[in-house]
């Protein structure tokens, strides 16, 4: 793990996230969110969790980002108005950031270097999912089915 790689990826990710949060144009913000998520996937690769990184690209960028972009398209009025920023929200976010950073910097036990680990293969993830985590797996399946049906029901046109 290289320090330079870490700095480059973190700058990329945080710049993308900041752009996604503050750009006035909604489409540009959605595309910057995609950039931030790509940076996050690179973080996961850096940390050795390749399967999660690929799953992130697949699910977030391939599906959630497309969904966000479609919804922007479907709920757009042609006047392109930009709504005002709520400054109290900015203050709360800054306060949370300050508090959490202070807590993290104060904790001494976090200044550790990465230990040597065996790489986690997809086979091991699959085995763990099917043995130790089989109940959460089934629950997530049910949850996804419920979300699918729920989203469809919400968007269906009402029959008069």
């Amino acid at each position: 793990m290289n320090s330079i790689t870490f700095i480059i990826i973190s700058v990329f990710t945080l710049a993308g996230a900041l752009a996604a949060a503050t750009l006035p144009n909604l489409m540009h913000a959605a595309f910057c969110l995609v950039l931030a998520l790509l940076g996050l996937a690179s973080f996961f690769f850096l940390l050795g969790a390749e399967f999660v990184g690929l799953a992130l690209v697949f699910i977030y960028i391939g599906a959630v980002a497309v969904l966000i972009v479609f919804t922007i398209l479907l709920t757009r009025r042609d006047s392109k108005e930009h709504y005002a920023i709520n400054w109290s929200g900015v203050l709360i976010a800054l306060a949370v950031f300050a508090g959490l950073t202070w807590a993290v910097l104060k904790t001494q036990s976090l200044s550790v270097v990465p230990p040597q680990i065996r790489t986690l293969t997809v086979k091991q993830i699959g085995q763990t999912l099917m043995t130790g985590y089989v109940w959460p797996l089934q629950c997530v399946g049910l949850l996804l089915t419920a979300a699918l049906i729920g989203a469809l029901v919400l968007v269906m046109e009402e029959r008069r």
């Binding site: 290289n2 489409m27 399967f51 690929l54 697949f58 391939g62 599906a63 972009v69 398209l73 997809v122």
Partner: protein, 395 residues
């Protein structure tokens, strides 16, 4: 001797790397990656140029005429002429288009298509980037294609482009499900996501003559057909080229692009075609293995590109033969037929595995697939929904 010919590119790369042997570790890694990338780009851009002219000639011969035959011997230098034409065209961007996104859309599309080419094994020990979740990487990166198409459609600020982009995305993500689920039986049967391992698992020969490719099992044949058709749709080829339907929505999401950016869209489409065909060869047709054990003296990459060429010829043949499908027919096929068939392939592969992988398993999985296919054909029969045709004037 044949082994030396087989590994000629591997040895060539090792010789090139020996020039930077003394440098620090990261320099060697970057040089190695650069050599892989340059080789990949060289091969596939040449193949793109060749296929673009061969497609026109093959389509022409199917339509009983010559294709381009003026530029160079048999017209094979036509891509050079096309490239020069595309490069010197004026690059028109609409005044109210979103300039950054308009520029980035073809770039992202082409980049994604080239990235997917990196995980396919082209020969023995000849994978550009062997990562631990190769197949997942292919699909994860390939699913970013939809976003690039949407960027193209939206940035043009044009209603036709937007309609074309929405149609293209609807088509692409409906067929992405059969595409990915058709790969699941192969991954299940092999137990690994690494393309090299999948090819090694298809390396045996029954009686030394019949190769144990997955396409020769019933679930493999059904999954191969589903994967192939879904690949056709993902690269927007006829009969599924509704997004670029020229008679309907001008050029869909590519309407406002001119010159080299238009060429980049076609580059991305063809590279996507190569990537999906390459993956089909890897997963179902045994990769770089020869069809019979006695033919092993021919280098492995020759076999890979021969199988790839056969699949590309079938793509071009389908383009020359079939008319365009209607959008609702296409969606019906995807959701009502191909998705259940894809799930059936997964079940049939499990049945094949648990009934022993021999003749018994073969017959049982064939039974499962035939039962579900017949049930679907009966349930989805639309012949009874139309009234009999009445001719008023032609009796």
């Amino acid at each position: 001797m044949s082994s030396a010919l087989d590994q000629i590119f591997v040895h060539g790369k090792r010789w090139l790397l020996s020039w930077v042997a003394g440098a620090p570790d990261w320099v060697i890694q970057i040089t190695s990656s650069l050599i892989n990338i340059v080789a990949l780009l060289a091969v596939f851009l040449t193949l793109f140029a060749l296929i673009s002219v061969l497609e026109r000639k093959i389509l022409a011969r199917m339509q009983n005429r010559y294709g381009p035959n003026r530029v160079g011997p048999f017209g094979l230098f036509q891509p050079v002429a096309d490239g020069i034409k595309m490069l010197i065209k004026e690059d028109i961007v609409p005044a109210r288009a979103d300039k950054v996104v308009h520029f980035l859309a073809p770039v992202v599309l082409a980049a994604v298509a080239i990235l997917t080419l990196g995980v396919i094994p082209y020969g023995r020990n000849m994978t550009a980037f062997a990562i631990n979740g190769g197949i997942l990487f292919f699909f994860a990166v390939g699913s970013a294609t939809e976003l690039a198409v949407f960027m193209a459609g939206w940035a043009s600020n044009n209603k036709f482009s937007m309609l074309g982009a929405m149609r293209a995305i609807a088509q692409m993500f409906s067929y992405e499900l059969p595409l990915i689920i058709a790969v699941l039986p192969v991954v299940m049967a092999v137990g690994s996501l690494v393309p090299d391992t999948i090819i090694t698992a298809q390396g045996e020969y029954t009686l030394g003559v019949v190769p144990r490719w997955f396409v020769f099992t019933p679930w493999g044949a059904a999954a191969f057909i589903l994967f192939f058709v879904s690949g056709l749709v993902e690269s927007n080829r006829t009969p599924f080229d509704v997004p670029e339907g020229e008679s309907e929505i001008v050029a869909g999401h590519m309407t406002e692009y001119s010159g080299f950016k238009y060429a980049t869209f076609f580059l991305a489409e063809y590279l996507g075609m190569f990537a999906v065909s390459g993956l089909a060869v890897t997963l179902f047709l045994g990769g770089w293995h020869p069809p019979a054990r006695i033919l092993e003296f021919v280098p492995s990459y020759i076999w890979f590109f021969a199988k790839l060429s056969v699949l590309l010829f079938v793509y071009i043949w389908l383009r020359g033969t079939l008319p365009r499908m209607r959008v609702d027919q296409m969606m019906n096929v995807a959701w009502k037929f191909m998705l259940p068939m894809a799930f059936t392939c997964v079940i049939a592969a499990a049945v094949w595995h648990y009934a022993g992988r021999g003749m018994r398993g073969w017959l049982w999985s064939l039974f499962v697939i035939v039962v579900v296919y017949s049930a679907l054909s009966i349930l989805l029969d639309t012949r009874r929904k139309f009234a009999p045709r009445v001719y008023r004037f032609a009796e």
